[in-house]
């Protein structure tokens, strides 16, 4: 019965509906962010920032347990501090932005692990590293949805400078000074989406729902609008299919979502219309007409 397989788990269990809503909101915010990160060759920045968020979340956790507000505030503060310091160092010194980020996020990560190891247990650390998409309460869902909404609104505002800077940073600098502020706003969006993701998926897997859909979109579209649409859609599909997989096969939900996204990525890599491997091997037909 297709209904039993595809719909019943969500109709029957509230925690599945909550997980689906969370995954949906997450994909809506993270999809476009991931595409811009990828187009600006900052794909690994998301990963670095996720590590940078850890100590803030860990401090929040140690102060008040698995408290949504404390962990969110801690994560945001740590993320923003690292992002700002990185920007300052890159602008004020000879060090390039990637190197500056690498130094700060590693310091932040080491600090986080130290803090947890001084006061917590391994079990605690696992809770901080791996969120739980099956345990989203009202507050957490609202937070994720609010973050997604803010991300989409702010992205709409800074869309033009952002696209221009992706395509032609030199031209952008010559015609407008909006590039700097737009860049900072964009980094802030990266941080709040990672904090959202870390409640549902954990600090490490949160990056997966951001970057894998973006890479999938890249294989199907040249146009940035379509790319974002495909990335968001594949993020949503991965969330839905991952939860079904976890429900029917009994594997942990967060990793299941990312693994489904990974499977979609491999399919796109092989069959993608834009630069997929099989397309490159058999390009013949393009030139005919």
């Amino acid at each position: 019965m297709p209904y039993d397989f595809f719909v019943a788990p969500f109709a029957e269990f509230e925690f599945m509906r909550r997980a689906l809503a969370g995954a949906l909101a997450l994909a809506l915010g993270a999809g476009p962010i991931g595409v811009f990160l990828m187009l600006r060759r900052m794909s690994l920045v998301g990963d670095a920032m996720a590590h940078a968020i850890l100590p803030g979340a860990a401090v929040g956790f140690l102060l008040s347990g698995l408290n949504l507000f404390a962990m969110t505030a801690g994560g945001l503060i740590a993320g923003f501090v690292v992002a700002l310091l990185t920007g300052l160092v890159a602008r004020a010194t000879e060090l390039k932005e990637d190197a500056a980020l690498a130094t700060f996020y590693l310091l932040s990560l080491a600090l986080g692990v130290t803090i947890v190891s001084v006061k917590g247990t391994n079990v605690d650390l696992l809770h901080v590293l791996f969120g739980n998409v099956l345990a989203l309460d009202d507050q957490t869902l609202l937070l994720i949805a609010a973050n997604a909404s803010i991300s989409l609104l702010v992205l709409a505002l800074i869309y033009r400078p952002l696209v221009l800077e992706c395509v032609d940073p030199g031209f952008m600098r010559s015609v407008s000074r909006a590039g700097g502020p737009a860049h900072l706003a964009f980094l802030a969006l990266v941080v709040i989406n990672l904090v959202s993701g870390f409640h549902a998926l954990g600090t490490l897997l949160a990056v997966g729902i951001m970057m894998l859909p973006a890479a999938i979109g890249r294989f199907w579209a040249r146009d940035i609008t379509l790319m974002i649409a495909i990335a968001t859609a594949s993020g949503i599909a991965a969330g839905y299919a991952g939860l079904l997989l976890s429900f029917h096969v009994g594997v942990a939900s967060g990793p299941a979502i990312i693994l489904v996204a990974g499977a979609l990525y491999v399919i796109s890599l092989l069959f993608g219309r834009v630069g997929g491997l099989l397309r490159q091997l058999f390009p013949g037909r393009h030139l005919e007409a």
Partner: protein
């Protein structure tokens, strides 16, 4: 040889200034082994000062998946008696006994107990080993331990009999308390979902119905299937409380509670005593703790 032994004793005295511990090495005591901590506690209560009791799976250990160490083999080799639970509880023990080459008597403490079938497992016909969860069975354990000790150490017959009688009286008092406590729980609320399938004997003795959803025994992160199985079980059984010691993520436990309306209970100890910092350091404490947890979670 003698000098070396003397040196050992000296070292033992130096490192363990506690007089009882130092005496524990005296040759006069009978060395016995109990396979796990709960059985060890019963043996200590019967054997008292005449025994030196060591357990293989210590406090907080899991005897189901225990991997014996070479030190365990040496302990078994030196022992005069090895007490085991039997009923398939210590699957690793036969090999350990063989490997150690011990001449110890192997005493199955559950001898004479009417075994229950293992609940909720595919292999029908195997029996449930957690017999100690019924106090009536614990009395049989104690009688078996007493008889075995008398057979090995006839000189202590009167002592063992007196200890066993005193402990059996304590067990009688415990059982009365347990029955009184459970009698105060409304009968329609005596339904519990647990993540550990170890309370079959408790259920048949005291009338609290336990359900353990199949396949939910993992200590890894719970999958959507695990959570769905727990919630379905709570709904089907109309369980008033759920005990989820395997799920360590408090956010998930809260979610299950809010989705089903069942109360979340604390920890039920099943297979092992706790160490000195815990609240179930003896068998009697363990039963009292479990019944207390059940009563507070099931009280309407």
């Amino acid at each position: 040889m003698a000098a070396a032994a003397g040196g050992c004793l000296l070292a033992a005295d130096f490192w363990a200034p506690d007089p009882a511990a130092a005496q524990g090495r005296s040759p006069g005591k009978l060395k016995v082994i109990a396979s796990f901590s709960i059985l060890g506690d019963l043996v200590k209560n019967v054997g008292g000062d005449r025994l030196e009791v060591a357990t293989l799976v210590g406090a907080n250990g899991n005897a189901h998946v225990y991997a014996p160490s070479p030190a365990d083999a040496r302990k078994v080799a030196d022992a005069a008696v090895v007490f085991v639970n039997g009923l398939g509880f210590e699957g690793w023990l036969d090999r350990l006994v063989k490997a150690s080459g011990t001449k110890a008597a192997i005493i199955v403490a559950t001898k004479g107990i009417e075994p229950l079938a293992r609940a909720g497992e595919h292999d029908h016909g195997r029996s449930d080993p957690h017999a100690w969860q019924s106090i009536a069975n614990a009395r049989i354990y104690v009688a078996n331990i007493r008889d075995a000790l008398i057979a090995i150490d006839a000189a202590g017959k009167a002592y063992y009999e007196a200890n066993a009688a005193a402990y059996l009286a304590k067990l009688d008092a415990l059982e009365r308390d347990v029955r009184d406590t459970i009698a105060r729980i409304p009968s329609e609320r005596r339904r519990v979902v647990t993540s550990h399938d170890a309370f079959g004997y408790f259920e048949s003795a005291y009338g609290i119905h336990f359900t353990a959803p199949q396949g939910v025994s993992t200590e890894a992160e719970a999958s959507a299937r695990d959570v769905a199985a727990i919630i379905s079980a709570i709904r089907q059984q109309k369980a008033a409380a759920v005990f989820l010691e395997n799920i360590t993520d408090p956010r998930l436990v809260r979610q299950i509670a809010s989705e089903t309306g069942a109360k979340i209970g604390g920890v039920l100890y099943s297979d092992a005593l706790t160490d000195a910092t815990g609240d179930a350091t003896t068998y009697i404490d363990l039963i009292r703790h479990n019944v207390g947890q059940l009563a507070s979670a099931l009280a309407s």
